[in-house]
């Protein structure tokens, strides 16, 4: 199997100013992430808001350059790729289909844009290919004349998927593709994404805060906390045997539709992670109920426990 996406120690920080008189603070949004994803795989990236998962997604799309580190798409460096080559390899599907489609353009133009941007294609060809892709995602080609406001949320998200796939890219970055949708529509979109991956041999990076959804679609899962992957493992292994205390807390807080089970105590306390102020040592230690002295002073960066990455000193101990 070839490697579709390889990310090597990527970092990105932003400066923020809270008020006119406040000092500038630096937010380390992504703080040293590395992974490689085989083609045909689905890497689910889960984490809470502000953990840097969307920034990571935008960097892999080439929308934001990393401050440091390197991203390789099918073995080529993303930084030295021109925009047309990049568009042919990798495409996004965003969370909110109400903001990812330009309200002033017709669906035909929206879906045709990636083709038009490649140049050297006639208007008729462009329309044919857009129509074909719209049918492929379960819409009628007649929709091409309409504007986004005339479609439902589910239809809009299908349009966004059609736009992402019209160039037949190898990799799709899905950033919370179902979070803004109703439950019944969410299932339709997930099924469509799964079907398209199988039929077109796509590779997905699937960013979500919904663990149940990630478990359903991902082959590998990375748990992100304050800009780093704190655990990364094959989906099955991660869900059956989570090692990092944060992964466990996340899994515990999933509320499945099973009555009679009490709401879990996730045991994270009420301190919230602040990317402008990342703690020394293990970045999770202020919220970890198992934290030891070592965790407060020494960061378990890149710690491997058995067959997977777990950034925790005590991940090997089953007692923790």
């Amino acid at each position: 199997m070839s490697i579709a996406v390889e990310v090597r120690d990527v970092r990105r920080s932003f400066t923020r100013r809270d008020g006119i008189f406040a000092a500038r603070s630096s937010i380390r949004a992504v703080d040293g992430v590395s992974f490689s994803l085989e083609s045909g795989g689905v890497l689910g990236i889960v984490g809470e808001s502000g953990c840097g998962k969307s920034t990571l997604g935008r960097m892999i799309l080439g929308l934001q350059p990393p401050d440091a580190g390197e991203i390789l798409i099918e073995g080529q460096s993303l930084a030295s790729m021109d925009r047309r080559t990049r568009a042919r390899l990798i495409q996004p599907v965003f969370q909110d289909p109400f903001s990812s489609l330009n309200p002033r353009q017709r669906i035909g133009d929206i879906v045709g844009l990636p083709l038009a941007a490649q140049g050297a294609i006639s208007g008729a060809q462009q329309r044919d290919q857009a129509a074909e892709m719209l049918t492929r995602v379960g819409l009628s080609a007649a929709i091409m004349e309409r504007f986004p406001a005339q479609l439902s949320g589910g239809q809009r998200q299908r349009v966004a998927i059609a736009r992402a796939l019209v160039l037949r890219p190898r990799i799709v970055i899905c950033d919370e593709p179902t979070s803004a949708l109703d439950v019944s529509v969410q299932a339709q979109i997930l099924n469509l994404l799964a079907e398209l991956r199988r039929d077109l041999g796509l590779t997905y990076v699937f960013i979500s805060h919904n663990l149940a959804v990630v478990e359903h679609i991902a082959t590998e899962v990375a748990v992100m906390y304050l800009g780093r992957f704190v655990e990364c493992a094959p989906s099955e292994a991660l869900f059956h045997d989570p090692r990092h205390p944060y992964t466990r807390a996340l899994l515990a807080s999933v509320l499945t539709a099973e009555p009679g089970i009490p709401i879990p105590d996730v045991g994270l306390g009420d301190t919230y992670p602040d990317p402008a102020n990342i703690p020394n040592g293990c970045r999770f230690h202020p919220r970890c109920r198992f934290a030891q002295d070592r965790c407060r002073s020494e960061a378990p960066l890149g710690h491997i426990a058995g067959d997977r990455l777990v950034e925790c000193w005590y991940a090997d101990n089953d007692s923790s």
């Binding site: 299932a187 509320l255 009679g260 009490p262 009420d270």
Partner: protein, 319 residues
């Protein structure tokens, strides 16, 4: 036992001709959590706003019965309802930032409600506010009282909203998607808090949500809404154990359960979309999306009783 909130045949219409709520009936008892679940636009939030008399201008409201304890909500004047609101009936919203005024400190906003309804002094209000902030699990309440809403994280804001709602010892708490804007770990904390408070204070809670996971863990009673109607209602055990309405069953099939839903098979899904329902819409609103629909579904459908306290709006269940 008499319910705290009782609604019979509530109808709400909007000036553009849509009937947002078409004959909703529900009861919330003391110490009970009643979940109103449905997808966006089904009328669940409008139902709550109608009960609080907070509907937008131009909306029309009618009900056979709408009672809070012994107060007939359909007959109260605006002033009388506003006296109930915030005191005996409280409401919390999805996005706490929209209901907190950014220009005032937490403390002054919390005491303001208390002073108005209880004719208390500011000092008494501050004491009460500090006590409640501690109660909802906020450490160093004294410091928080002097802070402004934007200085708090999302989770803290929602805790503050809950504390504010509890200032005047309400009997009914209406929570509209209280955890939708929060992270999953924070969501679990807030829901645990709501559950504990409810048990200890004997609150009647009407919880509005689209998340069946929350319903399963929080509700004693559940009403599933679709296109302005309650299509199925019953105890949580009945609804999750033996759902009868095709819409309820469809919804349950849509959500993956980690470790249980097979990964290589597609999830269940409901084809089609919600129809536009005006005041004159007749028959089952779900019939166009339903695999079991027959000619009968276009006629008027009365509520059918499946079991004690388990009712459904479907022709498949014998009358």
């Amino acid at each position: 036992m008499k319910p705290v909130l009782e609604i019979e045949n509530l109808r709400v219409g909007f000036p553009d001709g849509t009937a947002a709520v078409r004959g909703v009936s529900l009861r919330v008892g003391r110490g009970e959590t009643h979940c109103l679940v449905g997808e966006s636009g089904c009328g669940k939030s409008v139902t709550a706003l109608a009960a609080m008399n907070l509907l937008p201008r131009g909306a029309t409201r009618s009900a056979d019965v709408m009672r809070f304890h012994d107060e007939d909500l359909t007959r109260l004047s605006e002033r009388q309802t506003s006296r109930l609101r915030g005191a005996r009936m409280a409401m919390i919203f999805q996005e706490p930032m929209t209901s907190l005024n950014p220009a005032y400190t937490i403390g002054s906003q919390m005491t303001e409600v208390f002073q108005r309804h209880r004719h208390a002094t500011r000092a008494q209000g501050m004491d009460r506010a500090a006590e409640l902030l501690e109660r909802v699990g906020i450490t160093a309440p004294g410091m928080r009282l002097a802070q402004y809403p934007h200085q708090l994280s999302g989770g803290l804001r929602q805790r503050t909203m809950i504390a504010m709602a509890l200032m005047c010892d309400p009997e009914l708490l209406i929570a509209d998607e209280p955890t939708t804007a929060l992270d999953v770990t924070v969501q679990a904390q807030i829901l645990r808090l709501l559950q504990t408070l409810q048990r200890e204070l004997g609150l009647a809670v009407l919880l509005i949500t689209h998340d069946l996971g929350i319903v399963a863990r929080m509700a004693q009673r559940v009403s599933v809404m679709y296109a302005g109607q309650v299509v199925e209602s019953g105890s949580a055990a009945d609804l999750f154990g033996a759902p009868t309405h095709p819409y309820t069953r469809g919804l349950l099939a849509c959500i993956p359960i980690p470790g249980k839903t097979p990964r290589d098979q597609p999830l269940g899904s409901i084809p089609g979309s919600v129809p536009k329902t005006g005041a004159e819409f007749a028959g089952c609103a779900f019939r166009d999306r339903c695999t079991y629909a027959t000619a009968d579904c276009a006629g008027t459908i009365p509520h059918r009783t499946v079991a004690t306290d388990h009712r459904t709006l479907c022709t498949m269940v014998p009358a």
